[in-house]
Structure formats: structure tokens, C-alpha cells
């Protein structure tokens, strides 16, 4: 599904990603962990098409297409979804209107006719229930005045509505208390399927108690320096990142 090969990216001339290699197959959940500043969020941003980052080398192929050639909206229409670490507040645009536009723009991209208001509302209500999203939030301006938990839940709700093939969760656990974390994780899990894949970017192990990964990768200084099964996350939780850093420095 997703094939990342020697991906290099920089911002303002500073190289952040220094050759990432990653294969993601349908149905898989990959966790990307690593200390602060290792490039985790950069990887998520580059995959979603954030334009501040300059890709300086390597390739990303998604479902047979050169992802790096696509605009952010085209990537979304192809089935990539980024749950933001810091969801943006957009005054004056209601969540429901925003999502309706998004759904119909993606349908247009795929050559499908737009959903009518009734179809759309029915679908949205079902998805809102799935992530315990309060109806009243849908009518409010997008994320405006939402609590941290509400914003993150809104991300997962949007994901449920857009049904991406590949979801990238960027530090979705940051700023969440344990109850909010559980609700968000349940939402993500309910969307798991053999056709869909998920990349979970996180600093801490605790989210992975709820969203259990198939693979754990440790990102450090712009490279994946270690990969392993889900138990690797527990080891990191216990021992911290220093032993990984030491390993990397030793190899030079």
C-alpha cells in the first residue's frame, strides 16, 4: 500500500529526514516512536503534503502512485488522512459544512455525484455515534473553542466520515486524559479493517495499550534505527530512549 524509500526532507535548509524506509501493507498498524525532535511529525507532515517541507530525495509510492507528485487534496482523495497534532480552529465554518464540502470534493475527484443533504446527514450521524461525538459540536465552528479532547475526537470523527485507506495519527494522544484517550482509541479501532492501514506517531507507549500495533519503529535523528514487534514499545516505555541512542552512537 505505502512504500517509502530513502525519503529525505528538509525545512529551511535543515535536513530532518535522512533516509526513511518503510513498507506498510493493508490491514497493518505501524507505530512510529522516538524522542522529541527525531522527525516523527515531519514524516507525518511530508506524507500529507505540507508545503513548508522540501523533499530532497527518495520516493513515496502509495497504491502505485507517486505520492510526492500529488497536492494535499489529491492525497486526501486518494485515501490518505492525517489526524493533526494541533487541529486548526476555523471560525465561521461549521464542522458539518466543512465535512460536507470535503466529502463532496473527494467524490468529485473520484467522478462520483455529490451526496444530497439527507444522505450526508444520515451518514454523519452514524459516524458521530461511532466516536461519541456530540451533535451540538457539529453545528459549531470547526474546532473553535473546542477542548483538547473535543478537537482530537473531531479528528477521529472526520477520519470516520472520510474513510481513508491510510490514516496517519500524529501525536493524537498528546494533551488527552485517559478517558478521552480511550474514546479516541476506540474510534480508531472501530475503523480498523483488512483493507485499511494506520500509522500511529507517538512519543509515549500508553496510546499503544489501546491501539495495538503490528510493528513498532523507532525514529532517531531522521532515520528508523530500530523496528520490532509490539513488545518493542513496552521496552521503550520501561527503558526510555537512551539505550537506543547509545546503540546508534556506538555504530556511528
Amino acid at each position: 500500500m505505502l512504500s517509502i524509500n530513502d525519503l529525505r526532507a528538509s525545512i529551511e535548509g535543515k535536513e530532518i529526514l535522512k533516509g526513511i524506509n518503510l513498507e506498510v501493507k493493508p490491514g497493518e498498524v505501524h507505530a512510529i516512536m522516538g524522542p522529541n525532535g527525531s522527525g516523527k511529525s515531519t514524516l507525518a507532515s511530508v506524507l500529507a503534503g505540507r508545503e513548508e517541507y522540501e523533499v530532497t530525495g527518495g520516493s513515496v509510492v502509495f497504491e502505485g502512485k507517486d505520492l510526492l507528485e500529488l497536492a494535499p487534496e489529491e492525497r486526501a482523495a486518494e485515501g490518505i488522512f492525517l489526524a493533526f497534532q494541533y487541529p486548526v480552529e476555523i471560525p465561521g465554518v461549521t464542522t458539518i459544512n466543512f465535512l460536507k464540502t470535503a466529502v463532496n470534493e473527494i467524490r468529485k475527484y473520484k467522478g462520483e455525484s455529490p451526496l444530497d443533504a439527507a444522505q450526508f446527514l444520515k451518514m454523519v450521524r452514524e459516524k458521530a455515534k461511532l466516536v461519541s461525538m456530540n451533535d451540538s459540536l457539529l453545528k459549531r465552528a470547526l474546532n473553535e473553542g473546542f477542548s483538547g479532547g473535543e478537537k482530537k475526537r473531531n479528528e477521529i470523527f472526520q477520519m470516520a466520515v472520510l474513510e481513508p485507506k491510510l490514516a496517519i495519527l500524529d501525536e493524537t494522544d498528546s494533551g488527552l486524559d485517559i478517558d478521552a484517550l480511550r474514546i479516541v482509541a476506540e474510534g480508531v479501532n472501530s475503523l480498523r479493517s483488512p483493507e485499511r492501514a494506520t500509522i500511529v506517531v507517538t512519543h509515549y507507549q500508553r496510546l499503544l495499550d489501546y491501539i495495538v500495533p503490528d510493528f513498532v519503529h523507532v525514529l532517531y535523528k531522521g532515520r528508523i534505527v530500530k523496528s520490532g514487534p509490539k513488545e518493542l514499545a513496552l521496552e521503550l516505555e520501561e527503558k526510555g530512549y537512551d539505550w537506543i541512542k547509545a546503540e546508534v552512537e556506538a555504530v556511528g
Partner: protein, 439 residues
């Protein structure tokens, strides 16, 4: 080079005297005396240049470089107005074509035995003393050449008189149409609106142009808001690429009254709006909302004044602008807090999005505070579209142009949602949507 040998000022003054010469007895009336005083004031002030502090960023040289027919006839009918009109609803709708009331096109549905809604010319015919007593009362001290010019040449406009304790159910919509299909036309409407104690009314002025020739509108509206009255007043300008508009709305508020103004400029070559509110009462509140959306080489200038004269009142102001292409915007917001006006709350905000490197915005808040126990704040921002918001929307599959449109529509919505006449608000939403889609 200009081949005009007589400038507009001289031409207007000559025209005034020529008309006066054939007035017979009417020339001695109170009404005409006020007009004559207006002419004298205009003669003394002359058209402003950019050396004038109030006109620093708005040059009227182009406006006054040609002549206009201020008495142009028009055969305009409803058919031609169909695509110009604000969508209909149950409302009093008064048409003014080239500045003159057109009874055939107009509909007045509010009970005339209770409230007066008529053309100024008709009102004057019926009761000259009453109209003359209101005329130019609020604007008599105005230090503005265009207001003085309007006073000198007042012929028509609307006259609304609402007695005490009336809630006017149907809004009053004034549609000013410049028929510039054949030649340069000018009009100088004067609207006089008096709202009695504890009365409520919604009024909108909508300006449109037909045709490609130049139009020059020099409009003045005087609104007197009595105690506890509630007035919603909107001005909508959607004129042509050759339309020049100078307008002054002068408001006086009494104790415990409420006044809401919405000024929306969507199109027009050169627009200058003066909105002057005198809070001449205690516990009253004035609200000013403005939106301008120029493109091409359009120029929009909003000057506002909130003049707090008595204690315990509040003014609240929000102006927003989107500027494209080579357009220019000007915002000058004055807040006066007079020595007696303790416990005043006055807030002002002006926010702009400049979408082109060739567009520009000049903002100038001006606070003059002579009382010590007051709360005043002002802020202006001028920036581009929020890139983070744009990326967020695109990451959900919304194309860049569509995302821009949504963001800009949302930016406008703060102001548009304040318009409480449904048909006017819907009209604005439609025009803004079309305009956003046009680039």
C-alpha cells in the same frame, strides 16, 4: 489633457443660481434657506484634495474631472431592474432612479396612518414646515464639502417618520438605481429618518448602477434615534466599475436607544462612506459593522465616528475587508469620549486580508478621550489567508480554491450575519459567493 474649461465646482454653483432664479416665492422658504447655506458652505470648502487630513488616502480628482447630468431622465422599468434588485420579501420597497422617487416601481405596505414612509419631495409637498425642520438638523455642523453640496442640491430621497411606541413590522428597503446606460449621471439623495421613543425599525439602502457610463452618487442620510428606540440600518453598495459614491450617514442617539449599522461595499470604482454616530444619551449602544471586498482598481474608504457625549454608553465596531488585485482600502475610525462621558465602553476592530501584492490597506484608529473612567480598545490586523487553516482544509480533500472560498466566506460571515433583514443578508451571501468564485 482635460478639455473641460469649467470645473465641476463652478458648474454646480452656476447651476444652483440658475435654478434659484426661477423659483419665485419658494426661494424665501426655510427649506431653501438651508440649501442656500449649504451652497455657501460648499463654495467656501471646495472639493477636498489629498492635503485635507480626512481625504489623505482618497483622491477625488478623478471623480470631479468630468461633468454629470444631475437631472437625467430614465425610462427604466421593473424588467431592467429584475437582475439588480435585492430579493423580495414582505417589505416596504422604495425605488429611486437617478435620485428621484419612482412611485410606479415602489411598494409601501406599512400602515401610512401610523407611520410616514414617503419620498422627501412628497413629504415636503404635504408638510413643508415639518420636513424643513428636520432637514439638515443633524448635519448642520458638518465640515464636509460633499454633505454641504448634498444640502444645496437636495431634491429627493426618503422621509421616514415613526411616532413613539411603534414597532415597524416590515423593513424599509430603499433601492437607489443609477441609470448610466447613456451618459454620466449624478444624484444626491437625502434621506431623513426620525424614529420615535421606544419604536423599532429596520432600514436598508441598496445602491446599484445600470450601464457602463459613470455614475456619481452623493448621498446623505440623517437618522434621529429617540429614547429607547431600536434602529437597524444597512447600506449595501454593489455598483459598477464606473460608479463613484460618496455617502454620509449622520446619526444622533438619545438615552437607552440602540443603533446597529451594517455597511457592505461589494463593488464600485470609488467609494467613500462616512458613518458618524453621536451618542447623545446615557445607556445607549451603537454597533457598527462593515465589510468591503474590492477588486480590480476599486477604492473603498470607510470613515467612522463614535462620539460619546454622555456617560454610561457603549460603542462597538467591527470592520472587515478582503482586498484583491490592485484595489485599495482605507479605514479611519474615530472614537471621541467627551469630558462628561464617564463609564464609556468603546471597542473598535478592523481586520483585513490582502490577497495581492498590488493591493493595499490603510488603517487609522483615532481615539480622543477626555474622560478618565472609560474602557476603550482598538485593534487592526492586515494579513494574508491563514496558511495553516488552508492546509488543514486541503488535507481533508478540499481543493485550494474551494478552501480559499470557504475561509473568505467565513471571514465575511462575522459581518454578514449581523444583517437582520433576511432578504438583504441572503442577497449579500449570494453576491459574496459569486465574487469568491470569480477568481
Amino acid at each position: 489633457m482635460s478639455t473641460e474649461t469649467i470645473d465641476l465646482k463652478t458648474r454646480l454653483i452656476t447651476d444652483f443660481h440658475a435654478r434659484e432664479a426661477v423659483m419665485n416665492g419658494e426661494a424665501s422658504s426655510e427649506f431653501h434657506q438651508k440649501k442656500r447655506a449649504g451652497l455657501a458652505r460648499f463654495e467656501q470648502l471646495g472639493f477636498p484634495t489629498i492635503k485635507h487630513e480626512e481625504w489623505k488616502y482618497s483622491n477625488v480628482r478623478d471623480l470631479i474631472s468630468v461633468s454629470y447630468d444631475f437631472n437625467a431622465e430614465s425610462s427604466i422599468g421593473l424588467a431592467e431592474l429584475e437582475d439588480l434588485k435585492v430579493p423580495a420579501q414582505q417589505a416596504n420597497i422604495l425605488y429611486f432612479v437617478n435620485g428621484r422617487y419612482n412611485a410606479e416601481l415602489s411598494t409601501i405596505i406599512s400602515p401610512v396612518e401610523k407611520i410616514t414612509i414617503s419620498s422627501l419631495a412628497d413629504a415636503y409637498k404635504n408638510d413643508p414646515a415639518r420636513v424643513a425642520s428636520y432637514f439638515n438638523e443633524l448635519t448642520k455642523d458638518a465640515d464636509d464639502a460633499f454633505t454641504a453640496l448634498n444640502t444645496a442640491f437636495t431634491q429627493d430621497g426618503v422621509f421616514v417618520h415613526i411616532p413613539d411606541n411603534q414597532s415597524v413590522e416590515h423593513p424599509i428597503i430603499l433601492r437607489f438605481v443609477s441609470d448610466a446606460r447613456e451618459k454620466n449621471v449624478g444624484s444626491q439623495p437625502r434621506n431623513i429618518i426620525s424614529v420615535g421613543k421606544n419604536s423599532h425599525v429596520k432600514i436598508a439602502e441598496a445602491f446599484r448602477t445600470l450601464g457602463e457610463q459613470r455614475s456619481f452618487t452623493n448621498a446623505v442620510t440623517e437618522i434621529n434615534v429617540a429614547q429607547e428606540a431600536n434602529v437597524q440600518y444597512y447600506k449595501v453598495q454593489n455598483e459598477s466599475e464606473n460608479a463613484y459614491h460618496i455617502g454620509t450617514t449622520q446619526v444622533r442617539m438619545a438615552d437607552r436607544s440602540h443603533f446597529y449599522a451594517g455597511t457592505v461595499t461589494l463593488n464600485g470604482k470609488f467609494t467613500r462612506n462616512n458613518l458618524n454616530i453621536v451618542l447623545d444619551g446615557e445607556h445607549c449602544d451603537a454597533h457598527m459593522y462593515g465589510l468591503y471586498f474590492p477588486d480590480g482598481s476599486q477604492h473603498v474608504d470607510n470613515h467612522t465616528v463614535a462620539d460619546h457625549q454622555k456617560p454610561n454608553s457603549e460603542s462597538n465596531e467591527l470592520y472587515k475587508g478582503i482586498l484583491r488585485d490592485k484595489s485599495k482600502g482605507v479605514f479611519n475610525g474615530k472614537i471621541f469620549v467627551r469630558p462628561d462621558a464617564q463609564k464609556t465602553n468603546a471597542f473598535q476592530s478592523c481586520k483585513n486580508i490582502v490577497l495581492s501584492p498590488d493591493a493595499s490597506m490603510n488603517t487609522k484608529p483615532q481615539l480622543e478621550i477626555f474622560a478618565d473612567d472609560v474602557k476603550c480598545s482598538h485593534g487592526t490586523t492586515t494579513g494574508q489567508i491563514d496558511e495553516e487553516a488552508l492546509f488543514y482544509m486541503r488535507s481533508r480533500g478540499i481543493s485550494q480554491p474551494e478552501a480559499m472560498s470557504l475561509l473568505m466566506f467565513a471571514f465575511c460571515a462575522d459581518v454578514v450575519s449581523q444583517i437582520k433583514i433576511d432578504s438583504v443578508r441572503e442577497y449579500l451571501e449570494n453576491v459574496i459567493t459569486q465574487k469568491l468564485a470569480s477568481k
